[in-house]
Subunit: 361 residues, 4 copies
Amino acid sequence: MNTFGHLFRVTTFGESHGPAIGCVIDGCPPGLEIAAEEFAHDLSRRATGRTRHTSARHEADAVEILSGVYEGRTTGTPIALLIRNTDARSKDYDRIAEQFRPGHADYTYWQKYGHRDPRGGGRSSARETTMRVAAGVIAKKWLAERHGVRVQGHLSQIGDIVPSAFDAGAIESNPFFWPHAAQVAELESYMDALRKSGDSVGARVTVVADGVPPGWGEPIYGKLDGELAAAMMSINAVKGVEIGDGFAVVAQKGSEHRDLATRAGFESNHAGGILGGISSGQQVVCSVAFKPTSSLRLPAHGLDAHGNEVDIVTTGRHDPCVGIRATPICEAMMALVLIDQALRHRAQCGDVGEVAPRIPG
Amino acid sequence: MNTFGHLFRVTTFGESHGPAIGCVIDGCPPGLEIAAEEFAHDLSRRATGRTRHTSARHEADAVEILSGVYEGRTTGTPIALLIRNTDARSKDYDRIAEQFRPGHADYTYWQKYGHRDPRGGGRSSARETTMRVAAGVIAKKWLAERHGVRVQGHLSQIGDIVPSAFDAGAIESNPFFWPHAAQVAELESYMDALRKSGDSVGARVTVVADGVPPGWGEPIYGKLDGELAAAMMSINAVKGVEIGDGFAVVAQKGSEHRDLATRAGFESNHAGGILGGISSGQQVVCSVAFKPTSSLRLPAHGLDAHGNEVDIVTTGRHDPCVGIRATPICEAMMALVLIDQALRHRAQCGDVGEVAPRIPG
Amino acid sequence: MNTFGHLFRVTTFGESHGPAIGCVIDGCPPGLEIAAEEFAHDLSRRATGRTRHTSARHEADAVEILSGVYEGRTTGTPIALLIRNTDARSKDYDRIAEQFRPGHADYTYWQKYGHRDPRGGGRSSARETTMRVAAGVIAKKWLAERHGVRVQGHLSQIGDIVPSAFDAGAIESNPFFWPHAAQVAELESYMDALRKSGDSVGARVTVVADGVPPGWGEPIYGKLDGELAAAMMSINAVKGVEIGDGFAVVAQKGSEHRDLATRAGFESNHAGGILGGISSGQQVVCSVAFKPTSSLRLPAHGLDAHGNEVDIVTTGRHDPCVGIRATPICEAMMALVLIDQALRHRAQCGDVGEVAPRIPG
Amino acid sequence: MNTFGHLFRVTTFGESHGPAIGCVIDGCPPGLEIAAEEFAHDLSRRATGRTRHTSARHEADAVEILSGVYEGRTTGTPIALLIRNTDARSKDYDRIAEQFRPGHADYTYWQKYGHRDPRGGGRSSARETTMRVAAGVIAKKWLAERHGVRVQGHLSQIGDIVPSAFDAGAIESNPFFWPHAAQVAELESYMDALRKSGDSVGARVTVVADGVPPGWGEPIYGKLDGELAAAMMSINAVKGVEIGDGFAVVAQKGSEHRDLATRAGFESNHAGGILGGISSGQQVVCSVAFKPTSSLRLPAHGLDAHGNEVDIVTTGRHDPCVGIRATPICEAMMALVLIDQALRHRAQCGDVGEVAPRIPG
């Protein structure tokens, strides 16, 4: 199942070290202006090699638009995007073709399919997420132009470190998507020490959408939060998803959790902008837990395809914290969910019109 | 979107205080023995009114099988299940028809559809989950008979209280699905105090599946964990989903998180039995955060459909902790995900056969 | 796969002689007025027993609305419709439980599922189409109210007899849906002779939709004609589907077939109102071939479930021409395709607006 | 909607004169051997320019496999296929960018999307069918290797000419896929005269699948015949689809139509191998009506995008009978339907096993 979405459908393909990766976007509204250059910004935000804190694969990752755009505007037909893999270094991976790296999908792909492409993790590599980001660029643009929606992610925890303040303006000014500039030096020291130790660490990413109108989301099994959960959990290394207060609700009292409203607007947003699976008009807030990178320089024991116990050392390039560059991926997934819900909403409820009065977000 | 699943598809219908609720299960394998009586056990586990700690709706909730079963066995045609609503007390809700209860879906349904059934929360009521549990009974039975899979949930936190020990055998012996009998008295006192105060509290439910073979799950957008996340987040009041260690991975080191394997089996299960979206043969572990019930006896201010600020008091029957009786619902959702993935796996990979050797779970 | 449609999804359930038949309609726009009484007209048009020329099952076929309608209007939640089977005469079918009736689905269901409900054809009975007609009533009403679309079918051939003139006004005035009143006596004699002989005959039904705006249909694999073909071929006993001139195009020249346009409108409609899978604004025209009823009073040889050759005589009630009462079923299927395409169109192209100028139909 | 299939899903993309066309095949079973060279045979059978009777576009149409195949075998991950458009002659089409060619999709695409790629028909060009043939190669191979199924098409009518005999061995020995070698000279004269006249003609293609086991097909809305109808009607220029005797059933008596069975097998195959939407084990037979090519050298009047009446002459390369080279396309579509149904069957009914005894086809 390599397709995401119901009406704005993104089908990705490609292995990490195969000839190319790409996607087909089916169901995009016609008339949206889009140029190949517009993908560069988000792709570079996601790119490995962006700082010394992420792995060193250097690829131009130039997106070619193969179809669906004519004279600079989408035509309503499928948009195919292609990126050639120019920096594929298969040799790095030859040794591990028959080994099951701990924490990786090697063993499970092999058990499922009886056959797999071991080069760079093949299909299970995070390289696949490049195409999510590319598709997300289109989704974000339509959401912004048509509805004024803006989606932005930031790192909300790395290891035990949490932001000591929140400044949205700081997020794009440092390589950690960290919302507090004063902590960046601390993060750099932390990452340097981590790299030296050969170990890795987990992270938490939070994505916020501003401007989502009330009414998006399809109960019961197409709820906005349900689809966000599926979207985020489909990203490599994700082990948890929260909406609004998330797991903190377990220890909350009802009198504390419920978001009261006055004419001036909601007084809080514990719910993360979603009630009954439908957006309330408040900020949509989603947090995601990324596990620490499984590829470490620290050796480990494991098994090979013949059932033998072997020592496994990973030598390829790897981020010590995959969560950092996952921030634009999380943004993309939220944008893909939102555009899909926007289209589904106007399909079923396009007649309803605006039901006054709205509570200010 | 009221259908869950791709090959084992459950479509639910019905409002809390309408004539009936029901579901249609499409894609069930033929030949499975099933009788109307078999639904009773799990439905009573879920039923409100089970203890004094859950709300007091008393319904027989007798399931009628309308189709798809002949001479006691499934035929492969759609199985329709029906429960008549016999205890609908619409009067309880008349007053709130034009009020938006805080924390409820009243406002968002109204904004989306421009029209809603206010009786008992209508479609957004937890009553809908009755049919999930019913469908889950069929899924559980097929999984057990065909693959030896067993799905069991328990309460893993309520407010600030966590189990001080884990005894699987205790779970079904107390009304809290609590895995440590010695704490039950404490829980009862806690709940009594909570009820007296008119407030509510959140909870955490953990579901574990034993016996899932390696290979189930469809990367990239039909991953086992992605579908579990969607399934759980579609349940009313859920604000977070975790697989394995969940959000704890944020503060973990890679050397700590990765589950090493020897011939004797995996040495740990931080991953929760899923790698790359595919089951590894270990226990599949999923935890879910339930928010505190929004319907409180404590008054609150809110808005009505005309934009006026009003005082809102909920007088209907309501659990002070919806998470408790959500345990069988979470089990049902995991079972529905697993049967769907089992069928999808044999569709695509039915030829592959068993790829030896397997790592013991 | 018992669900039809992508956005207006109809899931049917029920066996011919089981407790009930029903359907769940998911995705219906909210706010449409609908009452249980509105189903009666089309159901009676479809009903067996309407004339002496169709089989004699007498059922009230009263539709109960179980959900999705509140205060007389659709709420946007799933609409469940139920009809209890009150006239099930299982005894008629006991003898054939282990026989494979020629031309019926007995053998193929048995080979597929290994188990089947033989009572009245079980799931493969034409009784299932009752729910299509019921769902079609809702689709027709929305199409008429929202877009002024009108769907009407008629019998365009029975055996070798074709209408010698076309008068739309005649169609509903005779039990054959025949568009030329002067031939009705001939048809009655023909049918009487047929019944006496114990044999049956095929028929051709043509359905026409007026008022469909240009632009409906989703190329490439969701074309309007492709979906009509699937819809019609899913009806029992259908062996062929044509759009516009259909198979007559095989012998046509291009200069004869192409529909030229002037400002005053199209000069012909060989294409049946669809070009490239998208409606052109002309009448949408679809014809369907129904095979002769397979249940005859004339005995035949066949096989039983043990591989023995047996003599098979059908004694139940059966139409000598199933095509006649299939007319409202074909209408319903066209309406279901059209509403689904209308919703899909506004999902993707809701921004486009009207692109002037249109060619008059 | 540019995806075909439920479990073996083919998503095509690309415009006739854009940079490339391609497809993504998702859900292919792993372990199937496939090489880029294997696409050549069927692509050349479909290629325009094969004989002087089809249009003169000369493209290598070399298929590049971008993903999903490792060491010559499918891995179970998405298979992306790409063909660069090397012979795109956009100039041929500049003049008609604002004209609506009669019988083409120009007008309807424009009305639907408000924007279109006019070069070579853009997305509505028959060039898209190249990728169906490519995907069909994979489907055919799996069907043959796994189930011994063989799919073969032939031309069964062109204009008024029908085969005067049937010799399966003749089909591949002439450029018309005609099953009777003695008529080939007559067909060549007919086509030469047609080309001289500047006109075009329709055709009928019949596809037969041998070896389909009983049990494939998913009633009610995923019937084998329903899906075949959708598949065939999705091909450009198709106006009708028949299963078995097709429209001839309208004039048949039941006693004539029903296929009786003895232990030695079925005595006839009027049903075309499908009963109740499920394969019976007999040959699956499907016929398709292709309209005459709409692009003629004979001038016609029409409208332009501004509502003006204009004279339209088509000067590009065009087949006088598109039906001829549609034969491999129809084969491909049947193969795509069959593999999808095979996978769906083993998903739901993989447990059932062989239900003895089978009636010989």
